[in-house]
């Protein structure tokens, strides 16, 4: 293998060079801007993660799994995963092997940006083929074929997305289209260019036969240069269109993984960490199918993918409209292959609009722990605090059931808000009134600490989530009543009688995706009746429609969501719907054709009296 073109340069590399220089400059400036907008303590966390071996390992593993092999998409739908992995991994390997080839055969050209890309144009094969050369040529052709198969699938997906497991995909913008067509063109053009050159530079199982085929009717070597020009132009255009298109996710995703693993959170809307998230969105549109609002076609435009697109374009009015509409159920975040926390950005956006609204919580000073009416019945020493929460007070059946369960299991407890307490603060946080929420959180923390408890049992997943995330309750164990009951059953403190009912469990958003509690409630239900499957479970559970997350969703729209959710739950004809959130209970109760019960009520009804 020897250099064919002296000086190792031809004019056709110019479009590629312009593109690559542009994109590298753009990425560097972008990276600096992201780092500037990350607040000081977060920057320190980021630096620390670079010297921590386990964090480095995690970063590398996540980057390989998510950026190259796309494990998350594979898990969702194998063929969709293959499509992404073949393009990403194949392209990556083409780049790596290209560099190895240059390093081995023409070491004097090491570090020339364009050389590995157009390697086959610049070299020629001399005499016998070495095994080593044939091996690399084989690898190059193999990975090119891999990429081409992925591109073929991608083209097919454009016309028939359902075949690859997506009901709906996004509408691409202009830059998206340009970059998309360039991406489609790059690899077929590369194949053509390398095939035309294969007679000189050599090739493998793909390029050699193509070369022989072409020689039958296109013997003229004049075809070599135009195809290399076309290949270079396609690459250059792709790089220039990239920052304005969805393909910006290719470089940004790696940055996002590093930042996320360092434990950073969204602080400023559109800047710093949020910018990394926004540009990591690949506009794939998986969130469109995920969104519970999209049972109605008119709501398609409120999907997270469009929210992020408008953020990139800085269209404040539309951003606010979507941010207010969102149910904050977190399903799009859970299913996002890149893991963009769009709900976090939406919350930050709401804060910019509503945090300046006035409020007056001076009455909080008069609220004290243990209202005097109850002091006689309650034992101060008990270490378990039961916190029902506002919503549970709307569904007294849960409170009554919990009281019965505590009594049957002989558990001493204090009731934190028997006569109604202060809200937990999450509704305010979700609505964007962060300062007001802080005041309430401080008050509640003070009340909880005053009670001297070590465990808090909560009936409302919304309260549980906020206490885990935003409260500073070190040393206090926070558990949901499903976990508490499950523990009682495991400890044999609670005996349940088995019934013949078939039951389906609805995963409340805040309990499932929010606090990662899936198995305990199912375990309890299996102790009482037959657990039936719903159509979408666990991570993919559909919001009941009553979520306090949405600000502007109207009653009618919510009803449609509830009906859809109920239908998906009843797919296997269960006798009852069981849930573990007072809000879901209240929402379903009005609309479901079968009885709806909270898990606490189900347990309380079936306690076996010894």
């Amino acid at each position: 293998m020897r250099e064919r073109i002296l000086g190792g340069y031809d004019n056709f590399v110019l479009p590629f060079m312009i593109g690559i220089v542009f994109i590298i400059t753009y990425l560097l400036i972008g990276l600096i801007r992201v780092i500037i907008h990350i607040p000081g303590p977060d920057r320190k966390k980021l630096l620390l993660s670079f010297v921590n071996p386990s964090a480095i390992y995690k970063n590398i593993r996540d980057i390989i799994c998510d950026c190259l092999i796309h494990v998350k998409i594979f898990k969702r739908k194998a063929i969709l995963g293959y499509m992404h992995a073949s393009i990403a991994f194949g392209w990556f390997m083409l780049i790596v092997i290209g560099h190895i080839e240059v390093a081995l055969y023409v070491p004097q050209r090491n570090g020339v940006l364009y050389y590995p890309v157009f390697f086959r144009y610049f070299v020629k094969q001399e005499g016998d083929i070495t095994l080593r050369g044939a091996f690399f040529f084989f690898l190059m052709d193999f990975f090119l074929l891999l990429v081409l198969s992925g591109i073929g699938l991608a083209m097919y997906k454009r016309v028939h997305s359902m075949a690859l497991g997506m009901r709906r995909t996004t509408k691409p913008g202009f830059a998206d289209r340009l970059a998309l067509y360039c991406l489609w063109a790059i690899f077929p053009l590369r194949l053509l260019a390398e095939s035309f050159t294969a007679g000189i530079s050599g090739g493998s199982f793909l390029t050699k036969p193509m070369n022989m085929l072409f020689q039958n009717f296109l013997s003229d070597d004049m075809h070599i240069l135009p195809t290399w020009w076309a290949y270079s132009v396609a690459l250059g255009l792709f790089f220039i269109a990239m920052p304005f298109s969805r393909y910006m996710h290719i470089p940004t995703e790696a940055l996002l993984i590093v930042l996320r693993n360092a434990g950073l959170k969204v602080t400023k809307i559109r800047k710093g960490f949020a910018a990394a998230e926004i540009y990591s969105c690949s506009s794939c549109g998986l969130c469109i199918d995920a969104c519970p609002m999209n049972t109605q076609k008119k709501n398609l435009k409120y999907s997270s993918v469009y929210f992020i697109r408008f953020l990139r374009r800085n269209r404040t009015k539309k951003i606010n409209k979507i941010a207010e509409k969102c149910l904050m159920c977190g399903k799009c975040v859970a299913l996002c292959p890149v893991g963009v926390d769009s709900c976090g950005i939406k919350r930050a956006q709401r804060t910019t609009v509503y945090n300046n609204l006035k409020y007056d919580y001076s009455y909080l000073t008069s609220v004290s722990h243990n209202p005097p009416t109850n002091t006689n019945e309650e034992k101060k020493s008990s270490s378990i605090l039961y916190f029902a929460g506002c919503m549970t007070h709307l569904t007294p059946s849960i409170i009554k059931s919990m009281e019965k369960i505590f009594e049957s299991a002989n558990v001493d407890y204090q009731f934190a808000d028997k006569d109604g307490g202060v809200c937990c603060g999450r509704p305010l946080i979700i609505a964007g009134k962060a300062d007001a929420a802080k005041e309430i959180i401080n008050k509640n923390t003070e009340l909880i600490k005053a009670s001297g408890c070590t465990t808090i049992v909560l009936s409302c997943p919304i309260c549980l989530k906020v206490m885990q995330e935003d409260y500073n309750l070190k040393g206090i164990n926070l558990i949901h009543h499903t976990q508490f009951i499950n523990q009682l059953i495991n400890d044999n403190k609670l005996k349940l009688s088995k019934t013949s009912d078939s039951l389906v469990y609805h995963d409340p958003c805040e309990l499932g995706r929010g606090c990662n509690i899936y198995d305990e409630p199912r375990n309890i239900i299996q102790n009482i009746g037959e657990l039936k499957q719903a159509q979408s479970e666990k991570l993919e559970s559909i919001c009941c429609g009553g979520s306090i997350g949405s600000l502007s969703l109207t009653y009618d729209d919510r009803t449609k969501i509830t009906q859809n959710s109920v239908n998906k739950l009843l797919i296997n004809n269960p006798d009852k719907i069981i849930t573990a959130c007072p809000l879901c209970l209240k929402t379903f109760k009005d609309q479901a054709p079968v009885p709806v019960e909270d898990i606490a009520l189900l347990v309380a009804k079936n306690i076996e009296v010894a």
């Binding site: 609204l357 009455y363 919503m391 709307l394 006569d419 609505a431 600000l551 009653y555 209240k586």
Partner: protein
């Protein structure tokens, strides 16, 4: 306007000439649900803040209709947006959004 000087309670006079109808229209544009309210008071009966204050969405809406936004603020300042009233409202009013909208249109800002 004549005020009748009974001494037991202060005169309660509603002067609709002072009511800012444009502001109320703005509110209707922002959250049309405000017109659905039939002043049943379910929101107050379910309110978390009512244990400690005289919060009342019902009274706030009436005050706005009567052109007394300051009074409406007094009724709403303790709201914790917990959303119980939304669940309870027999008219399906999106009360949380309504409360926020009132704060925005009448400029109850810090």
């Amino acid at each position: 306007m004549n005020k009748f000087g009974y001494s037991l309670s202060p005169a309660s006079v509603i002067n609709l000439d002072n009511a800012d109808k444009i502001k109320f229209k703005e509110l209707i544009d922002l959250e049309p649900d405000v017109l659905k309210c039939m002043a049943c008071g379910s929101c107050v009966s379910s309110c978390s803040a009512v244990n400690f204050t005289n919060s009342s969405l019902r009274s706030a809406i009436l005050s706005l209709q009567n052109g007394l936004p300051e009074k409406a603020y007094e009724y709403l300042k303790g709201c914790m947006l917990c959303g119980k009233c939304t669940m309870i409202c027999p008219r399906g009013i999106n009360t949380r959004r309504l409360i926020i909208s009132i704060f925005q249109t009448y400029n109850f800002k810090k």
